[in-house]
Amino acid sequence: MGATLKAVTTTEGVAPFAFSEHALAECHAIMARYPEGRTKSALIPILHIAQAGNDGWLSVPAMDAVAAVLGIQPIEVYEVASFYSMFNLRPVGRHVLEICRTTPCMLRGGDALIAHAEKKLGIHVGETTRDGLFTLKAVECLGSCGTAPMLQCGATYHEDLTPEAFDALIERLRATTVRSNYTDR
């Protein structure tokens, strides 16, 4: 709050983007689910694929590639990508830790888990560790209130978290070189 919001972004210094052959085939398979002339429906699923193939965030070139696949205006992609909280419009760490901060989690220690995570990683919510491994986010209800406190990392829910369990998770993630994506199977 208080800071002046920047209305436009830049493409300077941003890596180019192209879908892999496999990803492109997946995009077309998704587009085929919708009735003729309604392929724009595939926009959100395809944005997920683009984000997973672009180090976990949606750069302008990545979004423009999505627009090209669907044959729509780039602004239609920007409008949608910026609406949904799971799309990152800025670079993120290899593992994005999304801790639930909403009331049912708060009642079971969600705030304390966030505080612990900040201390453990040495960053604040919204920041990325210097080594580029972790981005910490506080997010709204993930539908896991009975197993609170919890966090999401990529496709995985980590539930009933204690500080110790959190620390163990961090060590496990440190040891892997594979990025955590929502689309992971």
Partner: protein, 451 residues
Amino acid sequence: MGRKLLLEHENVPGIQGLEVYRAKGGYRSVEKALRTMSPEAVVEEVKKSGLRGRGGAGFPTGMKWSFLAKPPGVPRYLVVNADESEPGTFKDRYLMERIPHLLIEGMITSSFALGANLAFIYIRGEYFYVSRILERAIAEARAAGWLGRNILGTGYDLEIHVHVGAGAYICGEETALLESLEGKRGNPRIKPPFPAVKGLYECPTVVNNVETIAAVVPIVNDGGEEYAKIGVGRSTGTKLISAGGNIRRPGVYEIELGVSCDEFINSDQWCGGVDGRAFKAVVPGGSSVPIVPYELFLKTAAGEDRLMTYESLSDGGFATGTMLGSGGFYAYNDAQCIVRSTWNHTRFYHHESCGQCSPCREGTGWMEKVLHRIEHGEGRMEDIDLLWDIQRRIEGNTICPLGDAAAWPVASAIRHFRDEFEFHVRHPQKVKDPRHFEKEPFVRKPKPATV
């Protein structure tokens, strides 16, 4: 009081797969409906069952189905709302994860009743891993001939697709969901027209919650009248309640509507009572429904035992009652601060407002700022009236129900816990520690129940 219609086989090993599911009687409703019933007859059974929308609004499902327009030559769609995002609610996730075929079966039977040949499951993006489970179930069902062309040789065709969202509570509102499914921002549409007339791709569409569609399975199998025998009055059948907060046994429970609130929260069959302290307040149906003091959750203002039904929970209106909502149940112990919780709720609605209409876009953020100020010991007495005024002017004046959903938690917190707000203003130093009521619980002066 323990019949289970949806979760009967929740603990059967392998129930996620088609083979075990089928062995336990799965897909009987599809056989019965497609082979022996007309679509109209299926709708009739759903009407007779008294089933009400399980997503939160509680609108009679059979009536919703009968509103579906049927212009010749225009496709109709069934869209399942699996965007479960109401804080406190995790029942649909549990159901889809545990028994995915129950949803698929319900969708086939329902699509047949509605005359839809294409159906979608719109699932919140965070449940990506659940979408994989559903996709597997769909593939299994398709391979076994329960989906695709000419199902069971009856000439009926159906395809089901899973569509993932990307993080937006507002997409649980059915018209925002449809916008999102069309690849747009999740901005709720201005109604009328309603989806039953102009829904997905401007075609007649029914949007139903996961649990609602799953409930169609036992309704068709056993008949609507049988289903309606369970429950009390207009609250028929069973309901999934996802219980959380400061209780001993959090989890998803299928209850017969009509269980007493006292039993539900205190018996070991369900919530198992408080987690070592004393209960203070309850939100019985998801964050949007009014928060009520524990005593008012147990008994109505008239002193009658409250039941877990749509009617009983709302007895007394907003003055002393609340709502069953989505079944997102959470309870507070006396270490919790109502002001903090209200701020947290409001931050949620502020974050999730789509920004389309002005009262919600501007009002939710304003309330959050005022609540933040009070909770952090910087509030003034007049802030409480200001909050009341803001919520009052949001309620009823927005395009979609998110405005009301943001207003009600604030209104009910002030209505029932005003002295706690005043305490924050009077004792700014005491509330600086975020766990201010942990050591010294706030003692509420009991108010006459008829406020």
